[in-house]
Symmetry: D2
Subunit: 407 residues, 4 copies
């Protein structure tokens, strides 16, 4: 292992890079895990309850603290309102801090009230729109009270049949609703506008692509940005390029990481196409390298829904994949890359990326963890802790949690 | 209207076809509606309860009887076990007959028991496989007791991650389980093997395509056939060609009709690409025309999940679309078509199809309905009956029905 | 036929619409055909030469004149430079006028020079970018000299492998090149910026989606607009919604119509999903209805590549499909639609569209043609003219034409 | 490097595997390169001629010999007839042997004759079918004369518009044609039947999926097998599962390797989704491990079309990717995998695969090469040889080669 690490150091030195810089980047890189990832979830066909799955926000935070304990890079937890609604936010904030955590992005739920059958911020009925706006405003208040500075907004709005609603009118209502919300946003808070290609609406989705989200953000103001969920694109989409474009427009608010094979499958990030995840980070590191202003304030968040696998372990696995992709992107020889690019050496340029990608970065991540006093193998550390067995005993199986309809 | 009808008659006469033959075909064409289509259903995000949605099998049958009352072509209802499980099948059979209905295909549920987390007929554990097989066998018994001759088998089996299970071993288990089931099948009963490209499994699905289902059917015997769900294919798939291939192999068991834009959206059949539905029926009519043995025994069934729209009206709408597609396919001038095909007249051949498709067949369907003593406009007939309002008053809103996890 | 027409008139009257208004809309609707559609083209595997395919611009114009003769709605022809380059533009302009035609959009070719191996406007080499810019500037000059007011810009630029070039740098170069071009644009001329999901670049495409094209157009100025090619989207994309968004942003420059099943197949417009084409026109008519400023200045153009079918006949067929879609969209009962939409009557609203779509508009189009002194059946008129046979005799088979590499 | 190798040895030893077995597997693994990969090729928009691209079969063989020289695992070359047609096959066979090569699979061309506009083996005209059959028979003769035992059959047959031809009739003609061909097949020769989802036909393709090819092969006899081209599937298809199914049916004839992002982009194998390539080899190694009869006789072949990159270098790059994927698959701890699979440890099982995939196998491949007397870095070896520059000087640029229409 030590030999491997030394070899990575030597390779980087040849490229003119001090490995300590790479380590410093990895050490300051943190990923937010979602509260809802610790509860039960599933598909429209079935939710398989997991023994010991968290049943309320306190349990979710306790689970998230385990992820932070073994990875050292997950100090914050995203909330979903009303799934995580509590009476006393200061108490829960203190509890989180006691666990070594902070509360992160607040995610309003605009899809589960009966009123939202035909939409929320885009609904033809002003009353429903007002209800939806009021809910987001209350989420902004929660965020303020817990010192969170991110509102992460996903809309399920759309239509299922041609003609069901007027697409331009829906757009007008969307902008109008967002403007009301934006007006209530405190200065230091950012509104991240997520997009999704389809589902749960099946004919049209009101925020279907990055272009629509970006246009809305631009109309709102500088604190509105775009949120990229890696599973929310049509097949064949070049997500790294979308990332590059948003960085270039100074509007990449953050990520919801997950992976998929076909639709929004919400699998473990990097589990099906790890090279694509690497290419995403390659764009980010490239922008950092050129001191792109946006690159320093990206919110890295996970959004997954584990159907059949253990929740906490799946979350740790995702973290490892994201760290791996980032670490490999940091190894890219950018001088050689630029040289190859500017001489039309297509394969030479590709090989610069590939050389970084093929590198086994486990020794590098081990070094980072050991320096932080962590177990080199977070999965083993978690498995051997007995935590999973403990909560499986203590928490009643199958109690509805998570907030998903079947959970 | 009458003029339109006469014009269709004249056009057909020119093609050498007696319109009475076309009418006879439409009159003998029937479509089975699914019991689960009358209860609440939705997406993994939300089930919007519909006022008056059926809460048990008797209510579902009552609703289906309304569809039959106004369309005259939906005399049978598919069942889903255990969602529709009752103590006394003879009583429910009599009730159905009292409503002018018969009980149709029996659909075993192999995805909602906690035991099926990693599969049913393909599960690595023999105990789970036995449980799944036993369930199908009990469904065969139900089918016998209610004089149904179709078992409609859909598996949710699959894996979510590479390596999760051995793909060939799963295949061996699948065949082994199916052989046990087939051995228990009475002579006059057919086993329809459905396939689906993905969902709820996200990495591999054990019956992912028509090829796999057909291979299994061939290994089992002549009473095993393939079930085509129109929403279960990758984007860009030529479904009419699959229909043609299965007809040619004498193994097209039947259809689950619905429509979609991206994944298995379960929208109203023919609502997004009516021309494709027409092309499917064009293959069937072509096979009928050549006395293809299979063409006469296809089970036409609907499988939809209505998220935001009224259940009964959506079902009637689907029936109208399917009838429309079939009626148009019957208008195709097959002599002219063959002539154009065999002379390489690409556009001439295409125009023969298009001429039939562009024809407004509403007057023809009106004639068929009037002859059957039906209202020419089934939707209007249903809307004016007051039935929807009545059940909305009588049935309590929101009681869990349908069987879907969130319903 | 006359009866049918009267019935459409009566239905429209019930909706409060005078059929003469509909007729007037159809009469003023015109579609531009592309010069390159009259020459040979094909796939990367094979170009099948068509007997009588046009070999130079004069022959292409002669063919286009045939389309105009039988349809009456195709008075302009798009040019492709250098495929259509001539020495004397005034002479060719006069020749077109003599044929009853005008020269339309000028399409620069930025993909066929050896220099463009790694791109044109986005190339890393300033010299290549300058060559590409100079070519577009010369196209602007041509457009001026022939009184054309549209430059229709499609880029093949992109990369085939991750790392091949820097995606943000390419974006900077693209904007820079476009700004130089825009600066040279005369006041009355519009620059239409096309986008395409993939092909011929296979990893990234510099203008991959409407969002990118729109952002570029906004940065350039009011005379830059977006061009929607109906075949240039990922599977499952809602193109009508893109049209709605661009109309709402006042930047829908025009269309390149064609149809496809999977990729950019360049088949006859409306041949595979005619309902989608209808839904596109439904958005346009809806915008016209609300006096949307953009709706009145859309450039309707065809961009097809006929591989195996006769060129002129395929073009006429496309025109008929587009007219049909537009005519049906004009029949939509917009009062009833709005009422249904605003009362949450999902299926009622959908049925308003469907009622228009199911209407057989051939009698209406016949009426329009008869009033214009045209044959009611343009295909029959063309077939009976003997023109196809004549050019097949006169023009030598297989001489390379069209400009495509294999043609 | 040596340390790395020792660590792989140690890890394998822990799994109970002798690294020498792994090395032996890699040493006996060979990949066939295609003659057409050394000539110019491109897209329908442009063929960019490569300086020094091979212009005839002798030059292609000379280039292939370079690939063999630096990789040591590419001793055979696939031929394409008539592109590679020569007068004296014995002379060319001797020339190949002189270069250290053997002639491999013979690929009939059934798409480039003018006669094939509407198909070849499926054409409605018996004369065209006979022509196509005769061509395949002549390829069989060539194969015999050069001691090749594989006919690799790809059909471009299909239709572009609904109705263009009768889909079942085409299927009958296809089977009939194949039966004639199969009857002429010598005992030791295999007929590999390729399938492709779409292109160049855009509506239907006569051999669109593995199911169709397998059915045909089964009807023909034991020497007919299926050829999997990795780029010939709809998006989201699980290719490893298709491989597993074909192995299980004892009909996996071989591969045409390449990679793509959307359609049949023919990029370098493993360049966009290397993990998927690894998963394909994982299925093969798993089958080998269980002594699957088919696993030992798979023909590993490359089928790529390099548009903008150097031909020979791209081919070497592909070889390295395929070797890498295979080497990683050989590292999978199959005992641990099975244990995890059979205990429902989803993530544990996945991690067994991932551990192998994350391993940097370059030291292992280096060891294999050094033992074979090869340069550890085939790309560097080729680049430093000066061969590319030499042929660029010697071979005239831009002379039409390759056989593709634009080349």
């Amino acid at each position: 292992m030590a030999e491997h690490f030394e070899q990575i150091r030597a390779t980087l030195a040849q490229q003119g890079t001090d490995i300590e810089q790479v380590i410093a980047h990895i050490q300051t890189f943190s990923i937010e895990t979602p509260s809802w990832g610790y509860g039960n979830s599933g598909t429209r066909f079935k939710v398989f309850p997991w023994p010991g799955a968290a049943r309320d926000l306190r349990e979710k935070l306790a689970d998230a603290a385990q992820v932070q304990r073994v990875t050292g890079c997950c100090p914050t937890v995203a909330l979903h309102i009303p799934w995580d609604q509590v009476d006393d936010w200061q108490e829960i904030k203190a509890y989180a801090e006691h666990l070594g955590l902070r509360l992160g992005a607040v995610n309003p739920n605009l899809f589960q009230d009966h009123a939202y059958r035909f939409g929320s911020l885009c609904h033809f009925d002003k009353g429903v729109r007002s209800q939806a706006i009021a809910h987001v405003l209350s989420c902004i208040e929660i965020a303020q009270s817990i010192d969170s500075n991110v509102i992460s907004l996903w809309l399920a709005d759309g239509t299922n049949y041609p003609g069901q609603d007027d697409l331009r009118h829906r757009r007008h209502r969307l902008l109008d609703s967002l403007q009301t919300i934006y007006a209530a946003l405190p200065d230091r808070m950012r509104l991240l506008i997520e997009y999704k290609f389809f589902e749960p609406a099946f004919y049209s989705t009101d925020l279907p692509d990055w272009g629509t989200s970006l246009l809305m953000a631009q109309k709102l103001g500088p604190n509105a940005e775009v949120l990229v969920d890696t599973g929310h694109h049509p097949q064949g989409t070049n997500i790294p390029q979308i990332v590059a474009q948003l960085l270039d427009e100074d509007r990449l608010g953050g990520f919801h990481f997950n992976d998929r094979k076909y639709a929004d499958d919400d699998l473990i990030a990097g589990s099906l196409n790890p090279f694509e995840l690497f290419c995403i980070f390659h764009e980010i590191v490239g922008a950092q390298h050129e001191s792109n202003a946006n690159a320093g304030r990206i919110a890295y968040m996970i959004d997954q829904s584990h159907n059949i696998e253990p929740k906490i372990e799946a979350m740790i696995q995702s973290i490892l994949h994201i760290q791996t992709a980032y670490a490999k992107a940091l190894l890219v020889d950018r001088v050689a890359l630029q040289q190859a690019q500017e001489s039309g050496d297509v394969l030479g340029a590709y090989r610069v990326l590939q050389a970084a990608y093929e590198t086994d970065v486990r020794p590098l991540l081990t070094e980072v963890r050991v320096r932080q006093g962590l177990d080199p193998d977070p999965i083993a550390a978690f498995r051997s802790s007995g935590y999973a067995e403990q909560v499986a005993r203590e928490r009643t199986l199958g109690e509805s949690v998570g907030g998903y309809p079947g959970a």
